[in-house]
């Protein structure tokens, strides 16, 4: 009887530790696996050249990732510019001014927005945003645009990041002690002044972190962006032109990657860039959050 209990205890403990170990070693395992797959590429070209060159013709062995990295950064930046103010304003309203009824409605709204699959956002983007950019916005500004563009990608991506950033911002604002708000109000501040001078100020680290993590999320988002961004290898500052972000590069070419030499290495290298950039951003800002929570 006792033996049975001891054995059971040992078995389940081993199971628990193994499970935890597998999960925690995952980032390292993924990194190593991708590095080895990408390795043939490093033997051919230097890392600096891979990142800074814009010559892309896989069949001739030219792998310059600059257009993809640039596109990724551009789309991410645009989406951030759209999403950041909306999230900040909505988080302020929902934590400071909103009625109970609105909050009850907003709970499921944010949940569902966060839960809608990427491909649905992508399809909605094709149906609404792409025609809007190509047939409405571009003619108004007297620009030619196919609609499938960096701008369309940025808008769709912004929508996808909003629930994610919003949740973190709400959490940040809720950690500001109510006593601080009461202090500002009793000194004669209006509600908005208490938000402006005290709550936002106090939440500064949290706001920065939420934004950072939102950017990381946008940087790695794949399907929705790829469906509306046009996927053409080019370096352009014009947001009405097509772009080709890193995740789209990987997802679009998995079919051919085994038929062209080193193409698979190139795609795995793209995945490695995503992993490293996103993991680093996450580690930095999560650390920031933990530090501020401790205080």
């Amino acid at each position: 009887m006792i033996l049975k209990r001891v054995v059971f205890d040992w078995l389940s403990r081993t199971w628990m530790i193994t499970a935890l170990a597998i999960i925690l070693s995952l980032p390292l395992t993924i990194g190593i696996a991708l590095y080895f797959k990408a390795n043939p590429l490093f033997e051919m070209q230097s890392l600096a050249r891979l990142i800074s060159s814009s010559d892309w013709s896989p069949s001739e062995g030219d792998f310059g990732f600059l257009p993809f990295i640039f596109s990724s950064l551009y789309v991410t930046l645009l989406s951030f510019l759209f999403a950041a103010p909306v999230c900040l304003f909505a988080a302020i309203y929902l934590t400071q001014f909103a009625s109970k009824r609105l909050i009850q409605v907003m709970h499921p709204v944010i949940d569902i927005l966060a839960g809608i699959p990427s491909v649905i956002y992508g399809m909605w983007g094709i149906l609404i945003i792409v025609p809007f950019v190509g047939d409405v916005l571009a003619p108004v500004l007297n620009i030619k645009s196919p609609g499938y563009s960096i701008l369309a990608g940025g808008i769709v991506l912004a929508l996808m990041c909003i629930p994610y950033m919003l949740n973190m911002l709400i959490e940040t604002f809720n950690t500001v002690p109510i006593g601080l708000k009461e202090a500002a109000l009793s000194l004669g501040a209006t509600r908005w002044e208490s938000v402006k001078h005290v709550i936002i100020r106090k939440s500064y680290p949290g706001i920065i972190s939420s934004y950072g993590l939102g950017i990381a999320k946008a940087f790695g988002e794949t399907l929705a962006v790829m469906m509306v961004v046009g996927n053409m290898v080019q370096l352009t500052f014009n947001p009405f032109e097509a772009g080709y972000p890193l995740p789209a590069l990987i997802a679009n070419n998995y079919g051919e990657m085994l038929s062209i030499p080193r193409y698979d290495s190139a795609l795995m290298f793209a995945a490695l860039i995503l992993l490293i950039v996103i993991l680093i951003i996450n580690l930095i800002f999560r650390y920031f959050i933990y530090q501020t929570q401790k205080q």
Binding site: L113, W124, N174
Partner: protein, 284 residues
């Protein structure tokens, strides 16, 4: 002076309020478009038959293959995620409960892991698949998605477990149970609503994710009968059919999207129902 303050207050209330209400409008807009487009093309044939000959040129058939494939993958992946995630979360809250630093370190890593995008998991799954000599299959898809959703299971479950008062641990240990017995008998029971939420969230994420199964699960018109056969998935069905130049096929993409959205909505609202009491969300 006071007038200026009043105006500023009003302006910002309007702006912030507008930002909030616009989110409801955006959600409504997305759902509306998906359903209007989808219900035009939705039929019993779409839901209950696999593709027939000439399907991709506008022929007969439906997307049963993708519905079943997606459910297989989501269920399989959720099962593995439970087997990995539940014990990990319990360990974190039972055995490590006295080691605050380790606990926080692990939570920190798990949170960071949650941020890794699914395309990277997809690429890793593909590498792993080649390494093990497998081909694109149901099993490969399940494993990849499982890795993607396990951090979600652990952290969501962990959030609920960490709110269980420590007194309960002590009471149970004082009665002579081992830590492990306590973990399964007391903690799992106490945290069960949170566990359900965690599983449903993970399931919802698993069924909607496309980038991770793109390389690993393959795509086929057949309904898979074995773990080593390739499997179609709903998100990819939407994605592929949407790329078709033939209008009838694109219509089917809309219908598939509506089906996927309905499944995700049901899962999400059920999760919400279960989590009402143990909500992770933070609006009061």
């Amino acid at each position: 002076m006071n007038r200026r303050k009043k105006i500023e207050e009003t302006i910002f209330r309007i702006i912030t309020g507008f930002a909030s209400y616009s989110l409801i409008a955006i959600l409504g807009f997305i759902i509306l478009i998906i359903f209007i487009k989808g219900f035009n093309a939705l039929s019993l044939e779409m839901v209950f038959t696999p593709p027939r000959g000439g399907f991709y040129y506008g022929g007969e058939g439906g997307v049963l293959n993708a519905i079943v494939g997606s459910l297989y993958i989501a269920f399989g992946a959720t099962l593995i995620a439970i087997l990995l995630g539940m014990p990990a979360a319990l360990y974190l809250n039972v055995h490590l409960v006295c080691y605050k630093r380790t606990q926080n370190m692990i939570r920190y890593l798990l949170d960071a892991l949650w941020g890794i995008p699914s395309i990277v998991y997809g690429a890793f799954g593909f590498t792993l698949m080649l390494f093990l000599g497998m081909t694109a299959s149901l099993l490969a898809g399940i494993i990849t998605v499982a890795l993607l959703i396990t951090p979600i299971v652990i952290r969501t479950f962990d959030d609920v477990l960490s709110t269980i008062p420590k007194g309960l641990h002590e009471a149970s240990l004082a009665l002579g149970s081992t830590r492990t017995e306590m973990a399964f008998k007391v903690m799992l029971k106490q945290g069960f609503p949170g566990f359900t939420t965690a599983v449903l969230l993970a399931f919802g994420r698993g069924i909607g994710d496309a980038a991770s199964v793109l390389f690993t699960a393959g795509y086929t018109d057949l309904i898979p009968t074995n773990l080593d056969e390739p499997a179609a998935t709903l998100p990819l069905a939407v994605f592929f059919q949407l790329g078709s130049p033939i209008p009838e096929v694109r219509e089917r993409a809309y219908a598939s999207a509506a089906i996927l959205t309905i499944i995700v909505l049901i899962v999400s609202l059920t999760a919400r129902y279960f989590s009402k009491k143990y909500s992770r969300s933070n609006l009061q």
